[in-house]
Symmetry: C2
Subunit: 340 residues, 2 copies
DNA sequence: TTGAAAGCGATACCAG
DNA sequence: CTGGTATCGCTTTCAA
């Protein structure tokens, strides 16, 4: 509750000097430095956010965000969240530069990131990108703060990760499958690109947990559908024709409607991940039994907000693991866009 | 992006006058008033939050909160959320007065609320209370802003409600029960006090949905356990002895460990609401198959935060329906205290 | 190396 | 009814 001004008065020095000590800028004599630090600690000095924000607007900050939203409606609420967080602080000089790309090609991603840094002159990066050396090496050589959102990257200097634990998500799918009965399972899996580590983690979490729980299940096959509906449809149709024992379909990627079409006429238990519009109707009708969402709005909101806090009060943000929200017919229509 | 100062300069009048117009306080000549409003709209004037906050600390605000937390660990994270929201803005003069009571006795609640208003001199109320005329009549005669949290109240003047849709929660339980197999169900229900409307709504949502989905299920009985473990245990033991066809136990209240003890030796499918510590171990071990949580931390955080926003920028907050989080063994240990 | 002062946006109060 | 001014906490810049 003590302010810089009060601290200065108590110590009989000027506010400027106290400020210089507390922020390690400029030269201050060691004795005064010690005295200030001691007193600040004693009186538990905490900077006032309002004052901080007011002074901060002199140096506008641009936050660059990369999302693989092209052709993937999952990212729509993520972007909404980012914009919402930006609008809360735009009057103190924060702005958002959005780079939207399609898929997981590393050159495309690198190019988009370079655009944010070089053309948009961003002061910070919030990235939903792939964990590739070409990209992390480039980022490691920048001095910009980076937050990973939705999919984590191996960058020691990153501030934090905001997004789901994909392995746990796969495990939860297995838990639901166990709940759904002791029937013998033969499972066909449609998954997303290997380039994005999370896609593999979901499947691993799923299969590991099936084994751990001793569930009577086997995997009939695991295919990357490249988020393509026609490909998904063909795979499901062919595989279920080849192997009549397949009774379960696990779709962890886009291309859901194609896959479901391919399963027409067959009595499969189907479950998916996320509640993109394509999925919603199929959950409502009961054709898809459940889906597990991952708070996309919050991912966007929190990633940008954490970057803002980093600039405002310099506290290194902690990782945020978003919740896994199980959705059935009964709750598919509840709001995903919580108004925070 | 335009400020009051700029507005004043453009119009050739003082900042004080602009301020008076924009806040409807003090007297201003109609012509000037019109001019100011027109210009403000034209230039899309938005108050700057930093400036607002800085000026606001001159009038400290005390927010009074009532929670039925005594003997009910569900409210622990709610309180944490309230404290977290308070700490974010305490440097601009917000403080929290917490009144903790046990159970749903209306006189106890009214007394606690009066204490907040009269003794603690609170400027606003955030209440987890019962929807009783004695209480709402008292509140209606106050001029303080009120937000209902966790359980809604019939108070026309309340700003908003933050908490779950209990009926939907019951429906989701029914959805999960349907997922768990087509077995014929005979269900024993343990529920909380009628005084709290939500308790009844859960059961209604549950039974309505069982019927709607055409599930082969009957209710063996529905009992208020008063959150008491010994009573729960006795009821479960007696009822399951009387009626050997009972194969399902739905516990929507505290006293979970007692109820589970009473079910010892019997092969019941058990499910509950919320993940209080008492429940956690039983979910881990698989004795309880699932529980549905309701973001308690967020309820506390958002209710207080909404009240703060009401004071800071005067925007009437919207209702917030918290999500229903299905928890199985696989995700019972993921964090409930999301750091927002 | 340190002090003093201006400025950020909004409010409150005192004069006129 | 209106204008002017001090104030809030912090940063930054200019002098000393």
């Amino acid at each position: 509750m003590v302010t810089i001004k009060e601290l200065a008065e108590i110590l009989g020095i000027s506010r400027g000097t106290v400020d210089r000590v507390l922020h390690n800028r400029g030269k201050v004599s060691p004795e005064i430095r010690e005295k200030v630090l001691a007193k600040a600690k004693e009186l538990n000095y905490q900077p006032n956010r309002a004052g901080l924000m007011l002074a901060l607007r002199k140096q506008p900050r641009r936050i660059g965000a990369l999302v693989t939203s092209v052709g993937n409606p999952f990212f729509d609420p993520v972007i909404e969240g980012m914009k919402m967080a930006t609008s809360e602080y735009e009057d103190i000089g924060f702005s958002l530069a959005l780079a939207e790309v399609k898929g997981f090609d590393r050159s495309t991603h690198l190019e988009a990131i370079k655009h944010l840094v070089e053309d948009e002159k961003c002061d910070a990066l919030v990235l939903a990108t792939i964990d590739d050396r070409m990209i992390t090496d480039y980022l490691a050589n920048l001095t910009l703060p980076v937050i990973a959102v939705n999919s984590d990257i191996s960058l020691p200097s990153k501030l934090c990760y905001v997004g789901p634990d994909y392995y746990a998500k796969g495990a939860l799918h297995a838990g639901l499958l166990a709940l759904a009965g002791e029937k013998k399972r033969r499972i066909l899996i449609l998954r997303g690109s290997e380039a994005m580590k999370g896609h593999g983690d979901i499947v691993r979490g799923f299969t590991d947990t099936l084994v751990k729980k001793g569930i009577d299940a086997t995997i009939a096959g695991e295919y990357d559908t490249s988020d393509d509906n026609e490909l998904s449809e063909r795979i499901v149709r062919e595989k279920t024709a080849e192997d009549e024992t397949i009774n379960t379909l696990f779709i962890t990627t886009a291309g859901v409607s194609g896959a479901v079409k391919g399963a027409a006429g067959r009595n499969l238990l189907i479950f998916t991940s996320d509640d993109v519009p394509e999925t919603k109707n199929l959950i409502r009708s009961g054709r898809i039994k459940w889906t597990i969402c991952q708070e996309p709005f919050r991912q966007g909101f929190e990633s940008v907000r954490r970057m803002q806090s980093w600039f405002i009060d310099g506290i290194k943000p902690e990782n945020l693991c978003t919740q896994h929200i199980v959705k059935l017919t009964e709750n598919i229509d509840s709001e995903y866009l919580s108004s925070i």
